[in-house]
């Protein structure tokens, strides 16, 4: 687009002129010299990190369950039964062997938007979780974890880090992929600052933490 290129050149020229004449530009640090004295790595032990993560999830009104690799399928069954759910749509990369029997499963890539909108719930794993903020980070699966009313996320203990910088370091290889940071269920406080769950995303967030 010719017009766009003109605007591009004009904007870049204005920036260059501004930065040549403005003394503020000269005093700015070069990128590697920017001081990062904030906390990068955790000083907490594993148990404290796990407890912090669970506490923060509780504060966000998420329902939290614990399991080990052998009892994960059972735990998923328990969570679904507690909501009278008989079926769910599952992320494509979620292991078949972790899904309990006696339910109807459908894979995300085989589902339409309408099916996602009307299903009882969605199940997916995560890439990293942050204890300090109670955040779960998802790679892809954006529609699956958004449209259904209930989202059940399986988090392995070794996926939980304490600080935000630790999580960002783990995400570095996937930084150009669609990523979603989830901290509790959808919420708003736009009407008189009253916190309400579930405006547009899932109204209920269930988390199963799988301990080694």
């Amino acid at each position: 687009m010719a017009e766009g290129r003109d605007a591009c050149e004009a904007i870049l020229n204005r920036i260059r002129t501004a930065n040549t004449s403005a003394r503020a530009a000269a005093s700015a640090a070069e990128y590697p010299a920017i001081e990062r004295n904030y906390q990068q790595r955790t000083t907490l032990d594993r148990e404290t990190i796990l407890k912090t993560f669970l506490d923060h999830l509780h504060e966000y009104d998420a329902h939290v369950f614990e399991a080990n690799p052998d009892t994960l399928a059972c735990a998923i069954a328990e969570v679904l039964k507690s909501h009278d759910q008989k079926s769910a749509i599952v992320a494509d990369d979620f292991p078949e062997e972790d899904l309990p029997t006696g339910f109807t499963w459908q894979r995300e890539s085989k589902s339409t938007k309408d099916q996602l909108n009307t299903t009882g719930g969605a199940i997916a794993g995560c890439e990293v979780a942050i204890a300090h903020t109670g955040t779960i980070i998802l790679r892809g699966t954006r529609q699956l974890t958004l449209l259904p009313d209930r989202f059940l996320c399986v988090v392995y203990e070794n996926q939980i880090v304490d600080t935000v910088p630790e999580a960002m370091a783990r995400l570095e290889p996937y930084k150009a992929e669609p990523l979603t940071f989830v901290s509790g269920p959808s919420a708003t406080a736009d009407i008189e600052m009253t916190r309400i769950r579930g405006v547009h995303g899932p109204r209920f967030l269930d988390v199963i933490v799988v301990r080694d």
């Binding site: 530009a25 004295n37 960002m168 370091a169 150009a176 901290s183 009407i191």
Partner: protein, 481 residues
């Protein structure tokens, strides 16, 4: 280049607008309640983040660095975004940006657009441009929706409808959604919004968003929100158009570790807001398959050229300065006559917009410094306010402005004790028609600007100088006698 900031062109001066709003008890109550709640929550979570000051310092350094290399980072972003399948457009001003966006929507044959909260689109008046071209924009943020359906204007950067209470929201929803039954419970009102918008999210094929951050290294975009409407708009439609001011760029993905810690705690008093969405170009089978980003200048390079004021461009739009500002807390956002309100609005608006139309805003502050203290990216707002006041005075002095002439005369009077005494004598004689019960409540002409907002004491019967002279004389006579 036409610079437009919302309705600021027609807006009255801050003092005039604020005077009327101070009478609205309901609005003041709503604003005070909302800002108290957010400020209280913010204080708790900031205290818990023990490296807060270090995070602020790094954020400020990253912003300074980015602005100093803004041209390089924008080009880097463009290259990376294009390589990932996105399209980058550049717009010098509001009209150009509107034209690009409207043309794109037309090109894809869209009649409706779902929008996630973006202040930049309000800045350029995008909704008006859409409507003028037969395109219907749906605001999907609950507060923005209350403002849109209520044919109202936003009053806060983060919570645009905080001036409305639940009864008012109920009335708006019932009328505009055609509902015959609805309670004023926030849960019910929220459910009504959910149902109303769900169908649009599934059906409308063009999404529109702003950007909290543009990542130069990946060409990615990050949007931070709470409700999930943002995720809907950037995930479900087939086409996504994003508008971002050029100052929204940060050098790398890693820098998000700083800003994602500062923004939610400052904006809503949360450790992390419920949702952050990051996307880069297009991904087969995942999200929109056509992605356009419009990079907007609209006066930003002019701010960049002013060394004292360029820190204004550090702003991450958290709104913490509004919630803590004693002036904003009394007047609410509408008095600022622009979508950018509060202390940050008082410095952004006059710079983005022609100074002469918004020159009252740098005076809409007590200069108490609370805004600087809470700013997560360390913008010294009082310093910029004083700098802008200086610019306004210099601009006025260059013209034959009656106020400037008055000020010059004042300066002459105050520089000489003899002249001051003469003026005081005159003042004592002249003030009697205006004094009632020991106060002056109304002064005539331009002096009335002072008494319009505060009462003043009349000049005392005797000045200190004349009292001193008499006192010294008596002492001397006493000593002699």
């Amino acid at each position: 280049m036409t610079i437009r900031v919302g309705e600021a062109a027609e807006a009255p001066s801050f003092q005039k607008a604020a005077f009327k709003l101070l009478d609205d008890a309901q609005l003041r109550k709503n604003v005070r309640h909302a800002t108290d709640v957010i400020s209280g929550k913010r204080a708790i979570v900031v205290k818990e983040q023990q490296d807060w000051q270090q995070l602020r310092a790094t954020a400020s350094a990253i912003k300074q660095h980015t602005l100093a290399h803004l041209d390089e980072y924008l080009l880097k972003f463009e290259a990376a975004c294009t390589a990932a399948g996105g399209h980058v457009h550049w717009a010098s001003d509001a009209d150009e940006a509107n034209r690009i966006i409207v043309d794109l929507v037309k090109q894809y044959g869209g009649k409706e657009v779902i929008k996630v909260k973006t202040m930049t689109s309000d800045e350029i008046g995008l909704n008006k441009a859409f409507e003028a071209n037969g395109i219907h924009p749906h605001e999907t943020d609950l507060a923005d929706m209350i403002v849109q359906l209520g044919h109202d204007k936003p009053s806060h950067i983060v919570a645009p409808a905080l001036h409305r209470n639940r009864q008012q929201v109920r009335e708006i929803f019932m009328r505009e959604m055609g509902l015959s039954e609805l309670t004023d419970e926030p849960q019910d009102l929220t459910n009504a919004a959910r149902q109303y918008l769900r169908e649009k999210f599934l059906k409308v094929k063009i999404g529109f968003s702003g950007a909290n951050y543009l990542l130069a290294d990946t060409g990615g975009v990050c949007v931070v929100e709470s409700e999930g409407n943002g995720r809907m708009c950037v995930t479900l439609p087939d086409i996504l158009i994003t508008l971002a001011g050029i100052e929204k760029i940060i050098p790398s993905f890693r820098d998000l570790e700083v800003f994602l810690q500062l923004l939610p705690r400052s904006a809503t008093g949360e450790r992390m807001n419920p949702y952050n969405s990051l996307w880069t170009g297009v991904h087969k089978g995942e999200g929109p398959q056509h992605f356009h980003v419009v990079l907007l200048d609209n006066g930003r390079t002019r701010i960049l050229a002013d060394p004292e004021a360029r820190q204004t461009l550090h702003c991450i739009r958290c709104g913490a300065c509004l919630n803590t500002c004693p002036v904003y807390r009394q007047t609410g956002g509408h008095a600022y006559g622009s979508i950018y309100s509060g202390p940050i609005g008082a410095i952004v608006t006059p710079q983005l917009f022609d100074m002469e139309h918004s020159q009252s805003l740098p005076y809409a502050s007590s200069l108490c410094g609370a805004c600087y203290e809470v700013c997560p990216v360390k913008i010294n707002i009082p310093e910029v306010l004083i700098h802008l006041r200086g610019r306004i005075v210099r601009e006025q002095q260059s013209g034959a402005n009656i106020e400037a002439i008055g000020m010059k005369a004042m300066a002459r009077v105050f520089s000489s004790g003899r002249r001051l005494e003469a003026a005081q004598r005159l003042g004592r004689l002249g003030q009697w028609p205006f004094v009632s019960e020991g106060w002056i409540k109304h002064l005539p002409g331009m002096l009335g600007n002072w008494t319009a907002v505060r009462d003043m004491r009349p000049l005392p019967k005797q000045s200190f100088r004349s009292w001193w002279r008499e006192h010294e004389k008596e002492k001397k006579e006493g000593a002699d006698g």
